[in-house]
């Protein structure tokens, strides 16, 4: 009798936990509709392993580089771990986590986020929380995720001990039940791939028109915290024998000040790193700001991203010695599929716009 009641208790507990898990899956935002950026980080795991190049950074990487083009032109296997408003500490922990899955030859980091020193220096805190979620919720449970959470939390999140809600997102999205849509049920178990190896395709065109004048800054020195994480990146890559390449994507906004550029040039020199400011080679790349951007200069559209990939792929081959895998049948087979998906997506999006 006693045995039986314990059995019932355990079975009930198991059912309850399963139901809670299901509830959590239902309540979490799916990011399949308008805010696809939130799904990017989670898509890495299906495509992890055997990538020679990993891009890490904010929208300036996931909107601007097309891995498919680099494969087609150079046989480079690459993937992007980008997310909206990704902070440098988040980039660092993503990098750390990446080494759990693969050891690429080259890590490419976009240095724009050097300008944000702490979670408090990033503007609107409510919005910041939403961005944190998009970067962190997609990560699988790991030390890196936990540390990234602790480094990322806003004051409000700290106040209600939000770190636990990253372990159990139900605690964060508990009141979303009143806002559930069909999407939440449709993608409950299986989500679509919204990206092509981390690249989020945009086919729209919104030409760059007039120059926005940004007021100069009082102090151009990057913060201590930013440098702290950049140093950690350098060390981490060194310990894995991976070459760290710093880039500044050719986005016109937000402004990349010369003073900032100078600091990166000096940093790269000091640590013997390759630093490429792609803003300086826009013409060589062939970017036409009347056609190659979908939001007037903030990000490239797919036509610009293909041009940039073509240009940057050459640098990866020439300067970093990244290998051509097109001769490898198994790799080619995998990538053939990716290429097909890519063009299907491109066709579909072009038809829509």
């Amino acid at each position: 009798m006693k045995k039986k009641s314990i059995l019932i208790l355990c079975a009930s507990l198991a059912v309850c936990i399963a139901l809670l898990w299901l509830l959590q899956a239902l309540l979490m935002p799916k990011y399949m509709g308008s805010v696809k950026e939130g799904a990017l980080i989670g898509e890495y795991y299906d495509n992890a392993g055997n990538n020679d190049v990993v891009f890490i950074g904010d929208c300036e990487v996931y909107e601007n580089f097309s891995p498919i083009t680099m494969w087609e032109e150079y046989g480079i296997t690459s993937i992007i771990r980008g997310s909206a408003q990704q902070m440098i500490w988040q980039s660092y922990y993503l990098m750390e986590e990446t080494f759990q899955y693969e050891t690429p030859k080259v890590m490419v980091f976009n240095v724009l986020s050097m300008k944000y020193d702490t979670p408090q220096s990033t503007g609107d805190q409510t919005q910041r929380e939403a961005y944190n979620r998009m970067t962190l919720d997609g990560m699988r449970w790991s030390d890196s995720k936990w540390n990234s959470v602790l480094a990322s939390m806003t004051e409000e999140e700290k106040e209600w001990q939000g770190q636990w809600s990253y372990l159990f997102p139900l605690l964060r999205y508990h009141d979303r039940w009143s806002q559930l849509t069909a999407e939440d049920f449709q993608y409950l178990f299986k989500k679509d791939q919204v990206s092509d190896n981390g690249y989020l395709m945009q086919t729209g065109v919104k030409p760059y028109e007039d120059e926005h004048v940004q007021p100069p800054l009082v102090d151009y020195t990057f913060g201590e915290n930013s440098y702290y994480y950049l140093d950690k990146m350098v060390e981490l890559c060194k310990s894995h024998g991976t070459q760290l390449v710093l880039i500044k994507a050719p986005s016109l906004y937000p402004v990349w000040w010369d003073e900032w550029d100078q600091q990166m040039v000096e940093y790269a020199e000091k640590h013997d790193l390759l630093y490429v400011n792609l803003l300086e080679t826009q013409e060589e790349i062939g970017i036409d700001w009347s056609k190659d951007t979908y939001d007037a200069g903030l990000h490239l559209n797919v036509y610009g991203a293909e041009k940039l990939a073509s240009y940057f792929g050459r640098i990866l081959v020439d300067e970093c010695g990244v290998a051509d895998h097109r001769g490898d049948d198994t790799v080619s087979a995998v990538w053939a599929e990716k290429v097909a998906t890519y063009y299907a997506r491109k066709e579909k999006l072009e038809a829509q716009s």
């Binding site: 019932i8 208790l9 809670l20 209600w160 636990w164 809600s165 009141d175």
Partner: protein, 522 residues
């Protein structure tokens, strides 16, 4: 550490695990250690306060106990030779010496409490905010109103020799600091909790499960009900809300404080139960009371009992009052008989009022309660004749009417909590008779109070649920005992459903301001 925070839940889980794993003899020591951890978490600057109370309580009670022992020994040894007068003299002498310790300890502690409470009011707060007197801004030490009253009750009990003195200083320290009680009571008596507080406890699945269920119910009341309605209570305090809106405020506040305080106490008592410790009940469905005296026997019982035993009785049977009674009775027979009771009531309610805070509105609150208690006592005869004339007691609806009447009256008295400026309160009360703005109920005003339609639906359902549960408790007794008679699967399903409701509808996390318990502030 807020009792509704994840950190607190983790803390409790860790304490529970350790509590049942370590040797049973060490359980109470573990409780002492974690209670101090809990206390330190609130701020190391508060440590001195609780230590002061603990040390002074221990010193005073030990000194009194020593004298009591000496006297008992003296009486025992000289049993044959002493006359009745000698014995009486020795007793009087004992009381006299011990009174010094008693009074010293009480004065010391209550002065500290008074100073702490005084620092919360103007002009000290302004000075603290301006930074001119920065040491004033430490706030009220965690649980001070509760642990201090609990300790002082114990000191009096030892003096009266109704409770033996606890000779182990660490055990006494646990009595003072037992962490579930630090938030908002209950104010227990030593005799009530000592038997279970220090006893070694075997793991008992039923106790654990009952305790957790009660905590869950407490979280429901706090997070789903009280914290949800809090926004509207704050909004309705604005000066533009008069008449019907003010009446609504009194009802909303009744809901909020009920959910907040009884919910918090459910968490406290439930938590103690998971540790195998029995705390006294603090509420017995107070809103079902039919008169004000009954209400105060069912609401915040531990405070009421404390006031009764240590203020009301001693004052009312004190020599001057008995003398007053004698004189008064010669003049007005029956009123004179009641006069000492009323004088003692005023004293008791004055102290109860300032226990809540040293502002005029709390004094007024106490006096209003006192006034209505005395009034209803004076009108007993009148009522009885009225009832008999119309045979009201036999009518079923009359009981409901009495409850509703009581509910509204208490709401109107209680709301003075929220108006530190007493004249605001009276002008608001006045507006009840002059402003009949019923249109606010449907013209959209209700949706501008920080609550959405969905919130109102949740609140309505939650209130119905609390009402039904109370009704069942009133008629059939313990809900958890009733649940235990059901099939396990049904029982688990119901508990799980409550858990899911708390998880999904609780006010916590992003977009919700974590709010402390109201009684935290007292």
């Amino acid at each position: 550490m807020q009792i509704t925070s994840f950190r607190f839940l983790l803390f409790v889980a860790a304490v529970l695990a350790a509590y049942y794993l370590i040797p049973k003899k060490g359980q109470w020591m573990l409780l002492l250690a974690v209670s101090y951890c809990f206390y330190l978490w609130a701020g190391i600057e508060y440590l001195g306060f609780i230590l002061l109370t603990t040390v002074s309580t221990y010193a005073a009670t030990m000194a009194m106990a020593a004298n009591q022992d000496k006297q008992a020994k003296f009486l025992e040894e000289n049993k044959e030779t002493l006359t009745r007068e000698d014995r009486k003299a020795s007793k009087v002498k004992l009381k006299k010496t011990n009174r010094v310790y008693l009074v010293g300890c009480l004065v010391l502690n209550f002065s500290v409490l008074a100073v702490c409470k005084a620092l919360l009011i103007e002009p000290f707060q302004t000075a603290a905010a301006a930074g001119t007197l920065s040491f004033l801004s430490i706030g009220l030490p965690l649980g001070i109103s509760f642990y201090m009253f609990q300790s002082m009750g114990y000191v009096v009990d030892v003096y009266r020799q109704t409770t033996p003195a606890e000779r182990n200083p660490f055990k006494l320290a646990l009595f003072v600091s037992f962490f579930p009680q630090l938030i908002q009571g209950p104010i227990s008596r030593f005799g009530q909790i000592a038997p279970t507080l220090y006893a070694p406890k075997k793991f008992d699945g039923k106790q654990l499960s009952f305790g957790l269920q009660r905590m869950l119910w407490g979280y429901f009341k706090k997070l789903v009900i009280a914290d949800r309605i809090a926004a509207a209570v704050i909004a309705l305090r604005g000066p533009e809300h008069t008449g019907v809106a003010f009446f609504l405020l009194t009802v909303f506040y009744a809901v909020q404080i009920y959910g907040d305080f009884t919910g918090g106490i459910d968490i406290t008592i439930g938590l103690a139960q998971t540790l195998g410790i029995e705390l006294p009940e603090n509420f017995i469905r107070p809103y079902f009371s039919k008169n004000i005296a009954e209400y105060w026997r069912r609401w915040h019982i531990s405070l009421g009992e404390w006031m009764k035993d240590y203020i009301f009785y001693p004052v009312s049977v004190s020599k001057p009052l008995l003398q007053l009674s004698k004189t008064a009775r010669k003049k007005w027979r029956s009123f004179g008989q009641r006069l000492p009771v009323y004088v003692a009531s005023v004293a008791t309610w004055f102290v109860t009022g300032i226990w809540h805070g040293l502002t005029p509105n709390f004094v007024l609150w106490g006096m209003l309660n006192c006034f209505f208690i005395v009034l209803s006592e004076e009108c007993v005869g009148l009522y009885e004749r009225f009832h008999n004339r119309f045979h009201l007691k036999e009518k079923k609806w009359y009981g409901g009417f009495e409850i509703l009447r009581m509910f509204i009256l208490m709401n109107l008295i209680r709301i003075v909590d929220l108006f530190p400026n007493v004249s605001d309160y009276f002008s608001r009360i006045g507006s009840l008779f002059t402003t009949f703005n019923f249109h606010i109920l449907w013209d959209g005003t209700m949706l501008k109070l920080g609550l959405t339609e969905l919130d109102y639906i949740i609140l309505a359902c939650g209130i119905v649920l609390m009402f039904v549960i109370s009704l069942i408790q009133e008629k059939k007794g313990s809900i958890r005992a009733l649940l235990l008679q059901q099939k396990p699967v049904l029982r688990y399903a119901l508990i799980f459903a409550l858990l899911v409701i708390v998880l999904l509808m609780g006010s916590y996390g992003v977009g919700y301001n974590a709010s402390a318990f109201i009684y935290n502030a007292f």
